[in-house]
Amino acid sequence: MLDRELKKGSAELLILSLVETRARHGYEISKMIEARSGGMLKFNVASLYPLLYRLEKRGWIIGHWIEKPGQKRRRCYKLTKEGKQMLKAQRTTWQSFVAAINQITGLENA
């Protein structure tokens, strides 16, 4: 498990990225994070939903209750226009940050 602070800092970026292409519900998001990180990152109910609600309050994502025939009613989140800009900005920052870390730690030359 990654350091808690780092996780908190990057969690927003993760969620924004996951709902970029299509709307997803909370359980799906948590599963995807766990799967894609190979089990390194895990969010439970108590840590995920506050994040979702916070991003929604900021107007970066928007949640809608969706009912499909034969399926359960779910609340799905998708990226807003403002969220898209924010994601773009955060990605750039993150990449620069990673590049900087890499430069310092010498991974580039390894």
């Binding site: 519900h25 909370g26 359980y27 948590s30 439970n44 109910v45 108590a46 840590s47 939903y49 506050p50 609600y53 916070r54 309050k57 209750w65 359960k72 009613r73 779910r74 609340r75």
Partner: protein
Amino acid sequence: MPDWKSEIRQLLAKLKLEPTREASIIEELAEHLEEFYEESLSQGATPATAWQQTLAELSGSELLGRELRRIERRHDSAPIIFATNRRRNSMANLWQDLRYGARTLWKTPGFTATALLTLALCIGANLTIFAIVDAVLLRPLPFPEADRLVTIFNTYPKAGVKRDGSSFTNYYERRSNIAAFSELAICREGTAVIGETGATQRAATMQVSPEFFATLGLGPVIGRTFTEEELTYQTDGVAILTDAYWRQHFNADANVIGQAIRVDGGQKKVIGILPPNFQYLSSDAQLYLPLSSNPTNRVPGQRHSGNSISMIARLKPGVTVTEAQAQIDAQNAALADSYPQAKMIAEAGFRSVVAGLRTDHVAAIRPTLLLLQAGVLLLLLIGSVNLVNLLLIRASGRTKELAIRQSLGASRRHVVSQVLAESVLLTFVGGLFGLAIAAGGIRLLTVLGADQLPLGAQIAFDGRLALIALAGAFGLGIIIALPIAAFNLRRQLANALQSESRSGTTNRAAQRLRHSFIVAQLALAFVLLSGAGLLSLSLKRVLAVAPGFRAEHVLSGQLSLPWKNYATQAARIGFVERLTEEVGQQPGVTAAGVITNIPLSRRSGKSAITPKGYVPQPGESVRGHYLYGVTGDYFAALGIPLRAGRLLDNTDLRRTERVCVVDEDFARRYWPQGRAIGQQLFLSPKQEAEAEASTIVGVIGAVKQAALTEDQALGAVYHPYNNHFDDKLFVVVRTTTLPESLGATLQTIVRKIDPELPVNDLRTMDARIADSLLARRSSALLIALFAGVALLLTAIGTYGVLSYAVAQRQREIGIRLALGALPSQIGRQFLTLGLRLLALGIVLGVVGAGLAGWVMQAILFNVPALHFVTLIGAVGIISVVALVACLIPARRATKVDPMIALRYE
């Protein structure tokens, strides 16, 4: 299947979320847990294990609760995001600042209530007084280009006559002959008996010359004004009605022109109606009549016969008062020699003064009003200083918060605008409350008699006042914000993060600023206190002045005898004789008399009277003296003591030889050795006709004629009524019962003698004295009230600052107590601080009080600028108040528990 919803509901219960939002969250989270549970089961977990694993999803639910509380709360409180401000427009910024200000104020109800109460009181008091100052001193008179209106009056300072009316001769000589004036007119206030026999009443009238309305720039809206022909006694049977009179008596009938009304027993033809709300200065005239005269009144020899006539004029555009004054002076000089006693007039220091009409009308009350306004401004200053101090304390407490914000990117501009928004919000709401207080205050002042001031009828609570109030509140908000904003900005970021926290020592500059504000408050409150002391002392000294008569148990009322029915001396004497006899026979009446002018009546014309054979010393002027006609037991009725000789009585009315009594001031002036009895007086300095001379038969006590504060002993001469006639009379009655109870009887007796005559202005002499001191009493009362509020504010301020100092240094106190300091030492330290501030405040206050006393000399009576006993009293009062305000926090300092203080934070 486990009930996930109830688990979650329990978790969220404490948060008290909005119901639909809560339901949505519960459903969403339950859905998540449900799916998780099912997945666990599908992966082979037993229901019990799956349940355990699912519950683990809720681990850290206190985080969930905390986060949700934070996020969901933000729904009604938008985040203050400084870094993004530049992108927002300024209106949104303002709105956000105001909302933030409102929220922070709402969160500190104690502070906000104190601040609003302070502001409401101070602004309310200021508005109340300003309403009067505005109506009386500032607002232009209700006439077009009123700043061009002037008045011209005659003065004979060396004869003791500071102000005399203009004469008919002045009018006829000046009109059309003074280039500076486009119009010139004369007028005279009076009363007339109007209405039908038996139901007559006295109405205020104004006699005016034809140009009067043109001079004011406002004339009749129906009909016409007076003509030149209507200015003589034989042809002056016309009247112009005010709008109010027209509506009341003629039901606003436009056909009233040409109709006759009964005035003083004769008929007058209505020729015009004035516009609504037409009012000349403070006159409450209902009828305007021609100011008629005979050609004999207009000759050079009558130039200095004042006749209570006022002269007004309109300056030509661009002409100044100084230019007009020069022209009047030049004309007076050119005409001087045509007056028979030119030398005497010159020796009396004669001059005609041109002065702005409004300025002149309100000149007497001006210093009092300015003093009151200064008093309330001081109060506002104290209140504002108090508020600044309280805000500074708050700002100190919020230094860290501010520093963090600054480090997060809040601009300096934003820091300032936030402070501004908060303080303007505060003063604005305070201003609204202040308006409410002012509305009540103006009503209260009207009860206290403010509407009797010159132009007092104009005092009103109106839109203009409200606008000024709100603009003032806005300005005050900005002024108050300045020191706070400066304080916030000056604090360096790094510095701020280290100091002014509860754990550190307090910032010296901030402390010094707070303390100097307390000193200022104490000094200002001291000035108000000592001012109130001086005014009450002055009032006490005025009240201690012996008026020269015994005011208790005396009723007085005014009458006037219309010329039409009382043209002969026999008729006049017949009336006053019968009146004094019949009133004198009433049960409870010990004496009744009649006089042409009662003391303190505000009419105080003087005449040049000289003893036979008296030759003024070189450079000495002939003096003006009060001259009265009396009958009945006037002196006994008013309680004026006889010093030598005898009093006048009704038998003197029919005596062929002329007699008079003089007062002791007059006697002492001309016969210091005391041989006044038997001497002869001339009513004119000419001393021509021997038969005109009257012999002094008695000397009586001196009476304060114009005011209790009258300092010049002018001297008075009393003739029997037949020798000094005036159509205006005062009847004076001394009773053994309540004087007020005699009013109706007096009216009945007068009506019995002449059904046409009403009695008005019925007042006891005590009431006349009280009314004459209205301005003094009200201003002393108001300044005392202001001083009281100032003391209260200062106490709150001192208490607030010292309490804060104690709270701030709690840790320090704890350490010192832990190290063995005695609680009494700690308490003494704070008390000493308070005393030091008090001492400084008093020193500055004494200086301020001296200055204030010096400025107040114009309205003080026999009171020096610095009065020792008053100062000591003020020191005593302010010390007690300040000490009480210091003792509470000092005691609190001694009660600090070292353990708790050290553990704090």
